[in-house]
Amino acid sequence: MTRFQKSLSGGGLLLVILAVYSLLNGAHHLSVNTVVSTLFYAGDQDFIVNHYRLPRLFIAILVGMGLAISGVLTQAIIRNPLASPDLMGISGGAGLAACTVLLTQPDINPAWLPVIALLGGFTAAFLIYWLNSRHQPSPARLALLGIAISAFLSSCINFLLVLYPIEVNSAMIWLTGSLWGRNWDYIWPLLPWLLTLVPFSYYLAWRLDLFALGDETASALGVDTKRLQIMALLSAVALASVSVAVCGTIGFVGLLAPHLARLLVGSQHKLMLPVAALIGALLVLSADTLARNLAPPLELPAGVLTAILGAPYFVFLLHRYKGW
């Protein structure tokens, strides 16, 4: 077995184990028999299994994949190991837009949320592009700028929460990232985006490998670099935004997943993309499972748990790349 096959099957096995664990456990423990019979015939535990744990399980996997692939694309295009949708303020922009709409129009159909979050994400991305357009930024400068924009956007969310204190709870989700209160209604609007953008990013894979050789070499080898940059960045922003639209700014997944994937299978995108997606799904699913199981029936925000892993790693990365 190659390293790729090993990572994929190992990760897949881990995901299945985690999925089973998260279906069985929570504020109320269920036996394997109960869960299996509920999955097929509904019954007494219908709500807990079919309308609560199952949709959350799928959302965690989808969102994790979306954030991870978004991270791979941004890191490849910006050629910056610190780039990720949340650190660059794209998630913040999407979160701010979704949060604004939810606070002012609480009755809105969840199907609109991805679209609104997309607008916010693209606005933030454009802002970063515009601020950086005058000079080729160094990786650290870009990261700093992104952190500044993220901080600005989350202070905007804070300001909104002060203006609309009554609905503060649904909005807390946007600040920390959580899958609380998410059901099937949130999966359907997420699915079409992921079903098109994930295969599309795989289609870009070999071009991204060539792009890593530098603009000139890539052009000489037949890649339209400008077009590639635009397509990959648009997909990255879209993937991050629709993920944020559903469960808020779950941080550091877009940063961690690509790095771990690179450690496992190297930097060839054809191999790295699926592994990163798998790792992203594992990260968000384990964060959400922990969030439900650490202190039941109290729920912790999943975003805080990914930050506990992600923040030290970010510091480690900053430390490792000297000379910025």
Partner: protein
């Protein structure tokens, strides 16, 4: 043969029509209405004011969103109900913990739980009523609505009459004693509760004045030391959410002596659980009692 089937259907239809007329009770709430065929037995509540309402109705909820701390339900309420299961925090109650209790009625806060209303109705019929930012007068109507839902009107009506008598007694003892302000404090700051808050509206109900300008429409106002100085209430009741608060710092300031409450020592420490979280009828009586005691000294 065919006719007999039709007759049977007609018979069944008329029977069901008749029976639904005799049982169904319809209650309107903030997100729609519920029809009850029978009296709910297993009630889960997601806010403290509803626990108070159930306690006076003599119904013990099976689950409460008590933030994982049973002491948050004030003693007077706790003494009147049996033990319950926690279903998590009021901000993010655990839906699986609620479902596991198999309730036949959920009472949720329309100010807080809007986003999970659909999920709650999948578990059990759900009443959405105001709890966060509810005023004393609004809550009296909500108490009657809850009494109707659990079929305890006569008991609750009796208690309400007694309550109004008690409040009138307190009111007579308290007349014309200056301006009263309630605030909660923590390390992060101080929040004044206006007459639109629960404690504020109880103070108003007792015909005591508020130091806040009448133009204010906000429920909770974050206040700096300077704002407190300019309001200068005659009485300040403080509920602390943490052991240390900004008040400790303010009390060391030389300006603190400028306040009327400092000269007359009219700063009274009270329980934030009773004055702010509980927002119920039993809590209102306790608030009135503590006000009267403080003024008598």
């Amino acid at each position: 043969m065919r006719f007999s089937v039709i007759y049977k259907l007609l018979f069944l239809f008329s029977f069901s029509l008749f029976s639904s007329q005799s049982f169904a009770l319809k209650i309107d709430h903030d997100a729609g209405s519920i029809e009850f065929d029978s009296t709910p037995q297993r009630v889960v509540v997601l806010a403290f004011s509803f626990v108070d309402a159930l306690a006076i109705a003599g119904v013990s909820p099976v689950g409460i969103a008590d933030d994982g701390d049973k002491n948050r339900v004030i003693k007077r309420v706790r003494d009147n109900i049996e033990d319950w299961q926690s279903v998590g925090s009021r901000y993010q109650p655990s839906l699986e913990a609620i479902a596991a209790l198999k309730p036949d009625l959920i009472i949720a806060d329309s100010g807080r739980h809007h986003s999970i209303y659909q999920d709650l109705t999948r578990i059990a019929p759900t009443l959405m009523l105001k709890s966060r930012g509810v005023t004393y007068q609004e809550n009296l109507l909500i108490i009657e609505k809850i009494a109707l839902a659990v079929d305890k009107q006569s008991r609750v009506e009796k208690r309400l009459i007694e309550h109004k008598k008690r409040m009138l007694d307190f009111k007579n003892k308290l007349s014309n004693k200056g301006s009263f302000q309630f605030a909660v404090t923590s390390e992060k700051g101080m929040w004044l509760h206006s007459p639109y808050s629960y404690a504020g509206s109880v103070i108003e109900e007792l015909a005591l004045t508020s130091p806040l300008p009448s133009s204010n429409k906000q429920v909770y106002l974050q206040s700096s030391f300077e704002q407190l100085l300019s309001l200068n209430p005659d009485w300040l009741f403080v509920g602390q959410y943490s052991d240390h608060s900004v008040l400790d710092k303010w009390q060391k300031s030389p300006l603190w002596k400028m306040l009327t409450i400092s000269k007359s020592q009219q700063v009274v420490s009270v329980s934030a659980n009773v004055w702010s979280l509980a927002s119920g009828l039993l809590a209102a009586e306790q608030i009135a009692e503590q006000l009267t005691q403080a003024v008598k000294k």
